[in-house]
Each structure stands twice: as structure tokens, then as C-alpha cells.
Amino acid sequence: MTDWLTPDEWAALRLSLLVAATGTLASLPPGIGIAYLLARRRFWGKSMLDMVVHLPLVLPPVVTGYLLLLGFGRRGLFGAWLAEIGIVFSFRWTGAALACAVMGFPLLVRALRLSIEAVDRRLEQAAATLGANPLQVFVRVTLPLILPGVIAGMVLAFAKAMGEFGATITFVSNIPGETQTLPSAIYTLTQIPGGEAGAMRLTLISIIVSMAALLMSELLARGVARRLAA
């Protein structure tokens, strides 16, 4: 195995997993919150919020990365401020995770929103008459019912994160062991003569990882479906 990958590539694989997992998990709570708002509430600026969520999809990743750099870079608007309370994204793996989270966010939110909209609200009403406050209703009824959507959204976000490099490389560069993820490494290899073989090898690895994640999610989803089945 160790022959298969150079130390830098190993590091890239590890980092990719870390970044994709962190990005996906960290975006889940805000994703659920925003999906809930979009699915259920009417408020001023809702279309705006919807648009902002979709932006990373619409913008070329390079632009998203550049905007992240402007916003969360060391000298960026929020970056400078966050740095003061000890949260630094720029040129750290955390930045790569942020980039992946942002890029996967529209996919996550859409899947969640679709599921929330499909929930039978009469069940939520029933829960309320049983004494559950809105939070309890959400946690004990809505959330379990949208689990298929949560799984689907997380798979999409994770897969996206495993393939994302445009925003990542623009935001946090491509520093081996620190911000070089698998897709960045693949990208670099496609830029040099004779890099194809290496690129294909890394691509295969990335496919295998995503395949594993996908299979796991399918198993999970099947379990959930069985529980909800008619």
C-alpha cells in the first residue's frame, strides 16, 4: 500500500477525508436550520437567502474561492475578525473544510428542504397535541422522518467535497500536508507532463473512498426506509 502512494499523496488522502467529513458534518446543523426556514417559514428576504445558498453552485468555483479569500482570508472582512477569537481559516485545513462546506451547502440544503416539505404535517400536529413543543416536535418527529433526506444531502455534500478543488485551491492554496486535498493533488498532476498516470491513480482512490461512503449511505438509507415502510 505504502508503495502505492507517496507520503504527500497519503497526506492528501487523509486530509481529504478529514476535510470532507468536517465540512459535511459542520454544515449539517446550519443546513438543517436554513432548509427548515426555507421549507416552512415565510419571511422577508427569503428569496435572498435562497439565492445566497445557491450561489456557490452558480458561481465558477474559482470565483467562490476568491470570494472566500476576500471574506475569510487573513486580511478578509470576517477573517480578520475571526482570527481575533482564534478561528483561522486561511491556508489551513479548516479553510479547505470551509470551502467544501460552502460548495456542498446548496446540495445539502436542497435535499433537506425537499424532505422537510414532504413531511406529513399532520404528524407534527399530533406530536404537538401530545405535549411536544416545536423543538421536541422537530427532534422527535420531523428529524427522524427526514432522515432519508439528511443521508442524501450528506452524501451529496461529501461527494462534492471529495471532488472540490476549484474553490479550495483558490482559497487555501495547495500546500502538501496542510491544504493539499486529493482533488488538488489530482489537479496538479493534470498540469504536468507525464502526470496522467498519477492523476488516474489518485482519481481511482477518490472514487473508492466515495464509493464506500455511498454504499454506507445506501445501507443506512435502506435501514431507515425499512423503518418507515408501509
Partner: protein, 238 residues
Amino acid sequence: EAPTVFAAASLKNALDDIAGSYAKEGKPAPKVSYAASNTLAKQIEQGAPADLFFSADLDWMDYLAKKDLIQPDTRVSLLANSIVLIAPKDSKAEVKMGPGLDLTAALGTGKLAMGNVEAVPAGKYGKSALEKLGGWAGVKDRIAQAESVRAALLLVSRGEAPLGIVYATDAAADANVKIVATFPAESHPAIVYPVAITKDSRNPDASALLAYLRGPTAKAAFEKQGFTVLNRSATAAQ
């Protein structure tokens, strides 16, 4: 402490070699972040922790110089490259390189693959060479502008385009293409790869590394990848 190098992606082969031998000499192996020169330049502008910037063209080095983000006295134009006209290896295309260059016949109904003529360095050089040699007008509507010189190479290598303009270094490494002709050096601005230490670099090893890059071991590695190593000084490059 290991210095961090921000280098154009096309330098990866050579720099990986050099970093390896540098480390073998017991020095801290540099960390090299490979990306497009523009990306790296903008990152340095935003405070990236780079000690050295190794650009694939002058424009982005100048961009940082103008913003006072590099140490001017450390700047060196280290490498040179040339651009060539390529065709798929089974192509019968023949082109007479020189003033009055006409690619239309060789192109037939196909496209001329090259890097983006405004953004990608190889594309910019190719465009100015074609202009200089007079072939531009004939092909300017028939250009497939790739996102990188590698993508342009790929288009020719896959037979999508009958002709392409890429760096000699790239053409040499691809068995599916052959070099039809080499553009004369005076037909385009000098293709140089400048390197400099950044303004913010606090790493004392940065200059040692820069010196090593200019040394004989590095020279061999660069030449192995087809680059020409220049020996002009930083000021001479300007």
C-alpha cells in the same frame, strides 16, 4: 523550518525532484503549493504564508512587484521555455515556420488548440508569435482556447484538433504528439519563469533555498524537464 514555495503547476516535476535532493542534503524540505500563477499571486496578496513565489510568467510577478509584495532584490528570471507547434503523431501536416506563417491549410476544417490567448501564458506567447509572423488573422476565429496549456496539449493528443501551440517541455513528454515546428525565440516575448522571495517571508531558509534553485543540482533537474536555465540577474530580467 521548511520554507513554503508557491509555484506554477507546470514546474511540479522539476521542483519535486529538486525538493527531494535538497532534503537529501539534510536541509528542511520545502513545501510546494502548485497552482495557477494568478491564483498564487492573489493568495500572496491576501497574506498567504509563502516564502518564495515561482511564477510561470512575468505578468503575475510584476503584479506582485507593483503591490510591493516581493523583495525586488531577490527576484530572478530563472528559467526559459519555448513554444512549439504540434500535431497528432500520425499527422502529415507540414508548416513552414517563419514570417508569412500560414496555418490555414494545415488546419483544414479543424481548430488550433492553444491556451487561452489572454489568460494562459502559453496562449499569450502563441498569439504574439502568430501576430509577429503574420498568421494570426487567418486563424483567429478558429482557435480552441483551453483553460491551460495542458488542456491544449490534450486536445491535440486526442486528435480533436489537428494543430496546437504548447511549450516545448509539454510536447516533449507526450508520445501522441509530434513537434511540427518551433517558434523562433524572437517571435514572442521571452518566456521566462521568474522567482522571488516574498515581502512577508520571515523564514531565514528562504534565501538558501533560492540559492539552491539557482545551483547546479537544480539546473540539471530543470534541464531534464526541458527548461532552459537562464543566468541573467534579477535586474537584467526587467
